[in-house]
């Protein structure tokens, strides 16, 4: 039940975009049509589920204070957590690269639709953000961090789909000239964020 709770919480309450503004750049740049945003959203979810568990293992068995005690007792006092930024980003960049190659080799159709987004994702804040939140919140198990990654990814997907759907309809409305494009997008994102705040406090 805890896992389900964590999942719901990471999709709606701690939504990557509306609560923490993570992945905002690609969110604003790519949300022009529903089709491309679907592709980017799926790619983000995919990469999150692939990277956060790996970073969790790295954090628990190597970086955390005293984590290396399993290698030899002499290492029990080591605290390498200051290295986490550089290692997390390296892991993310390499996993994205590997994923790109694997997808290209075994699923060319998927590659055709996701391929262009994969390299962009290495520097998407939502991916690194999820790993850093995982570290900060001290999840207990691999399962928890995987569920968290999946939930955050789906939350991100929902947010970008909603935004793209609204922006497609926006073409037919009369927006004041200075707000056209970027400005109105920010306002819509803000209003959607307020709507998502309604989920706050939900517990299962």
């Amino acid at each position: 039940m805890d896992l389900l709770n964590l999942f719901i919480k990471s999709v709606f309450v701690d939504n990557m975009i509306f609560a923490y503004f993570l992945g905002m750049c690609s969110y604003l740049a790519v949300s022009k049509t529903v089709k491309t945003s679907m592709g980017l959203g799926i790619a983000v979810t995919f990469v999150l589920v692939a990277t956060v568990p790996v970073n969790y293992l790295l954090h628990t068995y190597i970086l955390k204070e005293g984590a290396m005690a399993w290698i030899s007792p002499q290492l029990a006092g080591m605290d390498l957590s200051f290295l986490s930024f550089i290692l997390f980003i390296a892991i993310i960049a390499s996993i994205v690269q590997i994923l790109e190659m694997v997808v290209e080799k075994f699923a060319p159709a998927l590659y055709a639709s996701l391929g262009i987004f994969l390299p962009l994702i290495a520097v998407n804040c939502a991916i690194l953000g999820a790993s850093l939140f995982m570290q900060q919140r001290n999840f207990d198990s691999l399962g928890e961090s995987t569920v968290y990654a999946l939930g955050s990814g789906i939350g991100w997907l929902l947010a970008i789909l909603g935004m793209a759907a609204i922006r497609e309809h926006l073409k037919y409305s009369k927006v004041p000239a200075p707000l056209r494009g970027l400005g109105i997008t920010f306002i819509i994102a803000g209003l959607m964020g307020l709507a998502f705040m309604g989920f706050m406090g939900i517990k299962l």
Binding site: F18, A19, F21, L132, P178, F186, G193
Partner: protein, 205 residues
């Protein structure tokens, strides 16, 4: 060494990274509920952009094109770690309140954007100025957002009460909505609105 004022000034308004180029909104709006973390975040970004631009510009002829992204990420991540450790040592409370958002400077699109677009093709000193300019452009937006949100949301600036008690006695109340994260987006939208009303050439069709 010529002092190129243009690269320093342009990003502050006409080519502002946040309101015009839509870069780097990611990691920072969450820290703008109050002015002080917003200012520290802005300064950290100025330092990181300036020095990463400088370093990458020095290295630009030595970096093979195929692996440049990784080299850039390593330079940026190293600088961010330095800034983070300095803050942790000398301003622990601030470090705690910025939490993961300091680490997220690494994936701030402004950094990669400026490295790709400017530092790889320009001399070190110009790149350094460009980094400062873009960092400042970003810091200014954060500062304005933090100013508005803290003033309206908590009635204070830098944690000091500025709205006199007599206002509250007369029925004035802090707008709790301003503290919530979505309001940061709406404040940025207002900044864009004002800027584009003044500079008509920035308007989109």
């Amino acid at each position: 060494m010529k002092f190129n004022k243009e690269v320093l000034i342009k990003p502050l308004n006409r080519a502002n990274p946040v309101t015009v180029l839509v870069l780097g909104i990611c990691s920072a709006l969450a820290v703008t509920a109050q002015l002080k973390p917003a200012l520290v975040m802005g300064l950290s970004v100025v330092i990181v952009t300036a020095f990463s631009n400088l370093i990458v510009s020095f290295l630009r002829n030595g970096i093979p094109n195929r692996i440049r992204i990784i080299v850039q990420l390593v330079v940026v991540a190293t600088l961010v770690i330095i800034v983070e450790q300095v803050l942790k040592a000398f301003a622990y409370e601030m470090w705690k309140s910025l939490s993961v958002f300091l680490g997220l400077i690494i994936t701030n699109c402004i950094l990669m954007g400026r490295l790709e677009a400017f530092a790889l093709g320009n001399k070190p000193f110009d790149s350094f100025l460009d980094g400062i300019g873009n960092g400042m452009g970003y810091a200014i937006v954060l500062f304005i957002v933090g100013f508005v949100r803290e003033l309206l949301g908590s009635g204070s600036l830098f944690g000091i009460k500025v709205i006199p008690q007599s206002f509250y006695d007369a029925g004035y109340a802090n707008n709790g909505l301003m503290i919530l994260p979505p309001m940061a987006l709406i404040v940025v939208a207002c900044i864009i609105w004002v800027q584009r009303s003044i500079r008509k050439e920035l308007q989109e069709k």
